[in-house]
Symmetry: D2
């Protein structure tokens, strides 16, 4: 299984009139963790772009369990159970500083050729990169 983790403080402007992180922002937290994971594999945005590879988001589902407040620190864990064929499923969990699960869900990504706009299977090169992330 591949797993990656990152932490950052909640930002004031991400919180809504209830004083909690607006639910839409968890989707953004998910992306931050995924992007850092991919960059950590040595395969950041620039390389993807050079290879003409983009990852369209196919679907997202999230369950909201606990609120994050101004002053809290978010810890996001992304994990990948199965190497992808046509689509990559990333499971993501956001915790607060006390270890409470605040939100969790799955993000499904496709693989697209950025020049033709065509959906394709997982490129062998990316599969190799993914395997380097495996522990």
């Amino acid at each position: 299984m591949i797993s990656y983790e990152t932490s950052f403080p909640v930002r004031y402007y991400e919180c809504d009139p209830m004083g909690i992180v607006h639910h839409s922002n968890y989707i953004r937290y998910f992306e931050i963790c995924r992007d850092q994971m991919i960059a950590d594999w040595g395969y950041g945005m620039e390389k993807c772009a050079a290879d003409g590879l983009v990852f369209p988001v196919v679907s997202v589902n999230v369950k909201f369990r606990h609120s994050l407040y101004v002053g809290d620190t978010a810890r996001v864990v992304a994990s990948i159970q199965d190497l992808p064929l046509a689509k990559l499923t990333v499971h993501e969990v956001v915790y607060n500083q006390n270890g409470d699960v605040c939100a969790e869900g799955d993000v499904v990504l496709g693989f697209m050729n950025s020049e033709t706009g065509r959906i394709m299977g997982c490129p062998p090169k990316f599969l190799e990169v993914l395997k380097t992330g495996e522990k």
Copy 2:
């Protein structure tokens, strides 16, 4: 069935480096439509607040089908199939100006007493309000 619809132009800052509406923003479009629907029933935020009622988002799932671009107009339709007992499920669809489905999903809302923070069943008063929206 209850149904409500609203339209607005895509905003430039909502679009990402691929030139398309960032996927997290569809969650926000969903909320805009729900909030306008509830306000349209004459039961806006102020009344909810006065009644000590808030709607925590319990879960969201979205399927992304087609991109929205700078210059496009989003049309969002929210619909409610079943009157809620403990939770309210709102089905939401975002279309572009050509009628293509760009994103669709379900948002599940709970009912919470804003003073105690307690989750509760759907208050009878809100059920009445919901019924006024029914066609």
Copy 3:
């Protein structure tokens, strides 16, 4: 003088834990109004892109006078006093539904060739477009 006006409801997620529109969002409201103004002249993003013209924001200043709340409607007025030579200054004011000035400021835009990345003077074509907006 050129002047353009647009209105829209405040969105819930734009409001912060004080229950008011976060100050950064006024900068976005300014942009919404400018973009609609330019599109209204028949010179939208696609035409700018086709002409290789982009408008980098050079500077922004804003004075915050009054808060916008959840449930309020924002009315934004953009006006242009002087036809541009090297830079275009747009004066922008955000009002609430009662006519109170909530924020006002100036946005200074440059003209850039999107292919070369070079800053240039105001293209004659854009000057013509601007004049069509004049009343």
Copy 4:
């Protein structure tokens, strides 16, 4: 002089169709740095709230000098030249990882009693806190 610095990676969703950080986000970067500075003095949001003190933003001005791109790291430096009487001016600069100035400006904050909504002078307690930040 008081000075504080923080760094973080640019987030993908903060970038616009030109592939650069949208200008409105620099205002948010400014706030992130200020909030961390105040928290670093041991006077975070919770304490401010307990003391009934909020800092309304009175004005912001920003000059945009250089773009931040996807993959860049932002470094924000906030500095305070003069201890405040009625208003606090924070000078803020955003650099990229190469030390280029991307944006700089001044944010002017007032002092408000959160219960009465009244603007007041700088509370002696906050002045003491500010002095602990001084080097």
